[in-house]
């Protein structure tokens, strides 16, 4: 069999079998009805919690973003106009985009690489444990470690000066110059989030039938071709989960940025999550703050939907 044939077979999902057996949802049978009814209190309780704690305040935020401050009543889209005109918030949107792209490349890319490379290693489990360990730390703790490393008088600069790579009189300002400070925080956050992606990819790798990989190896496909045409296509479902999780978490990143740069200097490294916090709670301006929250939600939902729609569409 050619590698391309293996690829085709492993990516097609057998749907006709399901249809023939009549298990597609249509009219529920008697015991299914009872099962559903019994499930209502459990699902209902969860829905009630999510509805009261998350959905109702969200609807209120949308409403609030159409009002002004200090009881000044309905202002329509004024808050959104203010938001898109503010240069600090424009910069914030660019930073948010950088976070989305950066977290696609780094935690997802590294997660996949480390999972694949350590899956066949002798001490692979130990290596993976070391990579996953930072995920057990609170984000604030990681950020404080980041400060020790990345601040102007911190360990990284000291190491570089010691190795003669930089002039000790002019250390690199990792956290103070845009866009380097945004990139530094993204890279440092990736150190922590790569771990969970490694675990997810390990699970995905274990669902790949060994025969497909062995067949490709017998065919004479080397490591890279095996990975690209056999392993990776079968990880599509896992990749969908990993990307979905990573993007939504990256777009909401707060504690890392707050502890490392406070969104500064002069609001230069803020993302929309920080801008929303600053506007609502520091500037005491819930009008524009609500608008920022709504825009951020739209971006997160859109990113997730755009990617997941393709993946889920392909599978059904």
């Amino acid at each position: 069999m050619k590698v391309s044939e293996i690829e085709r077979l492993t990516t097609e999902r057998p749907t006709t079998a399901n249809r023939r057996s009549g298990l597609r949802s249509g009219t529920p049978v008697g015991h299914e009805k009872r099962a559903r009814r019994a499930a209502i209190p459990f699902v209902g309780a969860a829905l009630a919690v999510v509805g009261i704690v998350l959905l109702a305040p969200f609807v209120y935020t949308i409403y609030r973003s159409a009002l002004g401050n200090g009881g000044s009543g309905f202002v329509g889209l004024d808050n959104y106009v203010t938001m898109f005109r503010d240069p600090a918030l424009q910069r914030s949107m660019i930073n948010t985009l950088m976070w989305a792209v950066g977290s696609l490349i780094l935690p997802v890319g590294f997660g996949l690489t480390i999972a694949v490379m350590t899956s066949a290693m002798k001490l692979g489990a130990a290596a993976r444990a070391l990579v996953v360990l930072p995920y057990a730390l609170a984000g604030t703790v990681v950020a404080i470690v980041g400060n020790v490393l990345l601040s102007t008088a911190g360990s990284l600069n000291q190491a570089l000066a010691f190795l003669g790579l930089t002039d000790p009189e002019s250390p690199i300002q990792w956290l103070l110059q845009w866009p380097m400070n945004v990139v530094s925080v993204i890279v440092f956050a990736a150190w922590q989030t790569t771990g969970v992606n490694v675990v997810l990819y390990m699970v995905g790798l274990q669902t790949i039938p060994r025969e497909t990989v062995e067949a490709a190896a017998l065919d004479g496909a080397d490591g890279w071709r095996r990975f690209r045409f056999v392993t990776f296509p079968q990880l599509k479902a896992t990749t969908a989960v990993v990307i979905g999780l990573t993007i939504t978490n990256a777009l909401r990143a707060f504690d890392m940025i707050w502890v490392l740069t406070s969104g500064g200097p002069n609001r230069g490294s803020e993302t929309l999550a920080l801008s929303m916090y600053r506007q609502s709670f520091l500037m005491l301006d819930p009008a524009v703050g609500s608008a920022i929250a709504v825009v951020l939600t739209i971006i997160v939902v859109a990113c997730s939907w755009l990617y997941l729609r393709r993946q889920i569409g392909q599978e059904s």
Partner: protein, 432 residues
């Protein structure tokens, strides 16, 4: 038969889960009631954002109980932003609490303008008459001639210095003139003992506050009353002084956090830190005694002018909706008496607004004697002196200046923000 028992088992499980949820909700909602304890002890509920001061508040409450019949139950929220939102939301309701810790100056005016605070002018005058309150603080706690809070404590901004570092660079006396002060900064900076500043956090305005108030307290006060503009040439001169410190490397790197500065001083990496007397305890926590660190007042730029002290006062207000309104007002009068203020000031390690209170800490005591000797001029802290929105936006702008000292860009931006926010403040100062 088996199916029947499986379904009733499910119903049982669903029922048990529902009971648990309801029981949990009831216990959750019943906690934290109006402060009336089961033992019958009557307490005033005091909202604050300092959980580390709970013991002090409640000890003060026991002294107040003897006079007023009510003690204090402190309800604290650990983060300031959370606290601000909670108070703003709670004030118009029945759960407004009896006493609210709040800022002074414009932040207090913004809260008073919501119309939710009780008028405490009579209580203020009572305390002043009894000699328990420094009346000079009155403008910082008033709106439109009415008083809305009594002082929690009265901190003063001074410059803490590293005693051994000063000795090392050959300086034997703390500076009394601005020229001497700049010499101290230069010598310490060159010897590797910089002054603490940083762009993270709210403290970015500190050098501006010190330099401009030292240049002229009239200029500083005019700026805080929108009678002077940030484009004034004297302000520009002040920024040039600050730029000189930054360009010469006499200040810490811009990503220094001021919370780290006391420890840096203890480790011999810092020479000076301009901060308030409420930070005095942090130097102790870092392991220093009055043999290692001291403090001096900011000298004036013009010879012959008095030294400058920036006053930093928080206050205690009473909501209009307070469940125990009269008791709360009486409690505040008792709060200012020496019987409450002396142990409170020792507990919190800071000065009191009651002029009869003495301090035990040697560094604070040295500050007090310098104040008695030099009779300084007082200005209110930057944070309380401007409309709150402008304070926040200018903090970011000063942070940018600390990293890249571009005077033109900074002053233009500050001027733009000031015009915008003063206009909004004059239209409607309410922060609710």
């Amino acid at each position: 038969m088996a199916r029947h028992s499986v379904i009733s088992g499910r119903k049982l499980l669903a029922g048990a889960a529902a009971v648990l949820v309801v029981a949990g909700a009831l216990t959750g909602c019943s906690g934290g009631g109006g402060g009336e304890g089961g033992s019958g002890a009557k307490n005033l509920v005091m909202y604050n954002d300092n959980p580390q001061w709970t013991k002090g508040f409640e000890a003060a409450g026991e002294t107040i109980r003897k006079e007023v019949g009510y003690g204090i139950k402190a309800q604290s929220l650990p983060t300031t932003e959370n606290y601000t939102q909670t108070v703003l939301a709670a004030l118009p309701t029945k759960k407004s609490g009896d006493l609210i810790k709040w800022w002074s100056g414009k932040m207090l005016e913004g809260l008073a303008a919501t119309g939710q605070l009780a008028d405490l002018t009579a209580e203020w005058e009572q305390a002043v008459k009894a000699g328990n309150l420094n009346d000079a603080l009155r403008p910082y706690f008033s709106l439109d001639g009415k008083v809305y809070a009594l002082p929690l404590s009265q901190s003063s901004w001074v410059t803490y210095y590293n005693k051994s570092a000063l000795k090392k660079v050959g300086i034997t006396e703390t500076p009394k003139t601005w020229a001497e002060y700049e010499t101290v900064i230069e010598k310490l900076g060159k010897a590797g003992y910089p002054m603490c500043t940083g762009q993270t956090g709210w403290e970015t305005f500190v050098p501006f506050q010190q330099i401009i108030s030292a240049k002229s307290t009239t200029l500083y006060t005019d700026l805080t009353e929108n009678k002077a503009s940030f484009t004034d040439p004297k302000i520009r001169e002040g920024m040039e002084t600050w730029k000189r410190w930054i360009d010469n490397g006499w200040v810490t790197p811009p990503d220094t956090k001021s919370a780290d500065c006391p420890a840096m001083m203890a480790a011999g990496k810092l020479g000076l830190m301009n901060t308030a007397t409420w930070a005095n305890g942090f130097f102790k926590t870092a392991g220093m005694t009055d043999a290692d660190y001291g403090a001096f007042l900011t000298p004036p730029m013009a010879d012959g002018d008095p030294a400058i002290v920036v006053a930093d006062t928080a206050g205690i207000a009473v909501p209009k909706n307070a469940p125990n309104l009269d008791a709360a007002k009486k409690a505040l009068v008792t709060w200012m008496t020496t019987g409450v203020q002396q142990p409170w000031s020792e507990f919190v390690g800071d000065f009191s607004a009651n002029p009869k209170v003495t301090v035990k800490d040697p560094v604070l005591d040295s500050i007090l004697s310098q104040v008695k000797k030099q009779q300084p001029a007082y200005v209110n802290r930057y944070y309380e002196s401007f409309p709150p929105k402008f304070v926040q936006s200018s903090i970011a702008t000063f942070g940018g200046f600390i990293v890249k000292p571009d005077i033109d860009a900074t002053l233009t931006e500050l001027d733009r923000q000031a015009k915008q926010e003063w206009a909004a403040w004059e239209k409607n100062p309410s922060i609710g």
